[in-house]
């Protein structure tokens, strides 16, 4: 339910743009993690479904399982390439020494903060107090405490949805385009689409340092290549924050 706002932000953006779109925000001081960092991936929330003829999305358990496995493998490979050590949480209680309730609390807190980011950064409800401040949200002391207890540097929250048009839906799309011949054009019958977001929290400060939303009408995260593609689109091109970029320019 907490993804509703974020999903809304995504679909609004999709209307304006083309097939694949990402939009990222970063803390002004953000420098993308590099070198020997430790990343904790919080239970990725993945769902894959089929779009019925009438346009409803029907969840598919087998596709979701496949996509989750492929996405995690792709994420491991991608992060290893950057030098990071990745620990992926499968369940709330799979972190030794940390109670399931602590993880649950942090997930809920991030749900609320993530919604706020979606509302004020992606849905156009600008906050005057946060203007020109990049990404200025924090999970606070709870996140810092988790970092201290686990020795992790960053936490990554990941949500991914993918859907595919059913045969009936494809037929409807074909009809909508074929209708143009007789003057009834309906070329906008939606098919499958991807929606994902990633949120990076610095566990040393508790701040949400980087946030990215991905919208795409192409791709298939049930396959190795498709999963790698989504991870690359979502996490591959992390831009440093404004002040870091400025310092880099000045240095050059």
């Amino acid at each position: 339910m907490r993804h509703v706002t974020i999903a809304l932000a995504g679909s609004a953006a999709l209307l304006v743009a083309g097939c694949v779109q990402t939009r990222q925000y970063a803390d002004v001081q953000f420098a993308p993690p590099s070198g020997d960092y430790k990343l904790l991936v919080m239970r990725p929330d993945v769902s894959v479904g089929s779009v019925t003829t009438g346009g409803l999305t029907e969840a598919r358990a087998d596709w979701t399982e496949a996509a989750r496995t492929k996405l995690l493998a792709a994420l491991r490979a991608q992060q290893a390439g950057r030098g990071g050590n990745v620990l992926i949480l499968d369940r709330r209680d799979s972190l030794p020494g940390v109670g399931a309730e602590t993880i649950a609390e942090l997930e809920r807190l991030h749900g609320a903060v993530g919604n706020s980011i979606a509302l004020h950064k992606y849905l156009g409800e600008d906050l005057p107090t946060k203007r020109r401040k990049g990404l200025d949200w924090t999970l606070g002391a709870q996140a810092v405490a988790l970092g201290q207890r686990t020795g992790m540097d960053y936490a990554l929250f990941l949500h991914a949805e993918d859907s595919f048009a059913s045969t009936g839906r494809v037929a409807l799309q074909v009809l909508g385009i074929a209708g143009c011949i007789v003057g009834f054009c309906a070329p906008n019958v939606g098919g499958g689409s991807q929606f994902a977001y990633a949120s990076l929290v610095d566990l040393r400060t508790g701040e949400v340092v980087w946030f990215n939303v991905l919208q795409s009408k192409i791709g298939d995260i049930r396959t190795d290549a498709g999963a790698a593609e989504m991870v690359e689109r979502l996490l591959g091109r992390m831009k440093p924050g404004r002040e870091v970029r400025r310092a880099m320019r000045a240095g050059v």
Partner: protein
């Protein structure tokens, strides 16, 4: 034709189409026809249902871990025992959570997770009434209602999408704009979805009655629950000087309480066998919820819905007044602060303290009311009694000071 005309025509046409397609009433489902569609240990097989179950995993985790869940092992065990009794073949598969929300409601998730609101426990007079609601929810699972409803919705939206596209293309070929007809079709689709929902509620009622009677509970308890709800809504509206809100039954997802009550009465008569003993089980219910009843009443009283709260207190008092109920009655009057209610409150506090189970706060407010009325000595006695019962109350020092001065 003006826009306004066209719109009113559309609404009238839609209502007409829906009325002819669905009829406004849902026929009663005979309890004998309600057999469970699943056995013990049911797991989904079809792709759509498996997808639905998987999506529910995190939902259940979230609800089970919510801080709204009442942490009371004895009460949780009691509710689990009840759904184990009236849960038919899936009795052992259910999970049941009590959440602290002062509202009349209960939910069943497609995976067999039931959620009961504390507002429901407050309103039930006996175990049969509570078991009736739980049996109704269990029936949703036993009859696979959620997946059946999803499939129905899928089929209808599929058909609508194809028809709308077909009509559009045919209209395009003939040079007619079919926008209005398509909108009418959409309304028809929505209305037929709701009818399917009402049909499922009727099924759950019929099966609930049957499950209840099979366990020796008085099956008439389910109709009583609805009678209580109707009366409560009426009194609530009266105190707010409003008419009781009635949903237009065409648009309701549930049948109206009146028609459900009538059907439940008939169904109860269907399932009762001459010579069999049916029980309301009042004592076991009180024993189970007795400890939290003051919290339940307090949550309700603080909603400041005096009509509903007074109805609830008076309804529970049909099984005998006691100090807690009288105290709650007094609180309802005092918090509403309407002309004349102060005297009502004072009288109810005075009656409440006559009972041995009167809460300490009843003595406190009785004392304050007496003091306001200028009866100083009696007020002192009441407040002294309050301090004796609650020596560590947050305001104990203050009250002691009052007594000294």
């Amino acid at each position: 034709m003006t826009l306004l005309d066209r719109r009113s025509l559309l609404i009238a046409g839609g209502a007409l189409a829906a009325a002819s397609a669905t009829g406004t009433a849902t026929a009663r489902v005979p309890p004998s026809s309600m057999v469970p569609l699943i056995g013990p240990g049911y797991r989904p097989v079809d792709a759509d249902e498996r997808g639905m179950w998987q999506q529910m995993e995190r939902v259940e985790e979230e609800i089970a871990g919510s801080n709204l869940v009442v942490q009371d092992a004895a009460l949780a065990g009691y509710l689990k025992g009840l759904i184990g009794k009236v849960g038919g073949p899936a009795a052992r598969d259910f999970r049941i959570y009590l959440v602290r929300i002062p509202d009349f409601n209960a939910l069943m998730f497609p995976t067999g997770m039931a959620v009961i609101f504390t507002g429901l426990l407050l309103r039930m007079r006996n175990e049969a009434q509570l078991a009736g609601v739980i049996a109704h929810e269990a029936a949703h699972f036993l009859r696979k209602h959620q997946i059946r409803q999803w499939r129905d919705m899928r089929t209808r939206t599929d058909i609508f999408a194809m028809l709308a596209m077909g009509a559009g293309i045919a209209g395009g070929a003939a040079g007619v704009n079919t926008g209005d007809i398509s909108q009418l079709g959409q309304l028809g689709t929505i209305l037929s979805l709701l009818r399917y929902n009402r049909g499922l509620e009727a099924e759950a009622d019929a099966m609930g009655v049957r499950l209840l009677a099979e366990q020796g509970y008085d099956p008439r308890a389910m109709a009583e629950t609805w009678a209580q709800l109707i009366a409560e809504e009426k009194l609530s509206a009266k105190y707010r000087r409003k008419r009781r809100h009635r949903d237009i039954s065409l648009f309701g997802t549930h049948p109206s309480p009146e028609s459900r009550m009538a059907d439940l009465r008939l169904s109860a008569a269907d399932v009762m066998r001459p010579g069999a003993i049916y029980d309301a089980r009042h004592a076991s219910y009180l024993a189970a919820i007795g400890k939290i009843r003051s919290t339940l009443l307090d949550d309700q009283v603080k909603l400041n819905d005096p009509g509903a709260s007074l109805y609830i207190v008076n309804n529970l008092a049909q099984d005998g007044w006691n100090g807690l109920l009288r105290y709650s009655e007094a609180e309802i009057y005092r918090l509403h602060n309407r002309a004349g209610f102060d005297e009502h409150a004072a009288r109810s506090y005075a009656v409440a303290v006559q009972y041995p189970d009167a809460p300490a706060d009843a003595w406190r407010w009785h004392g304050i009311m007496l003091s306001k009325a200028g009866r100083r000595e009696e007020a002192r006695a009441a407040l002294t009694r309050y301090l004796a019962l609650a020596p560590n109350a947050p305001d104990a020092a203050f009250v002691r000071q009052m007594l000294v001065s």
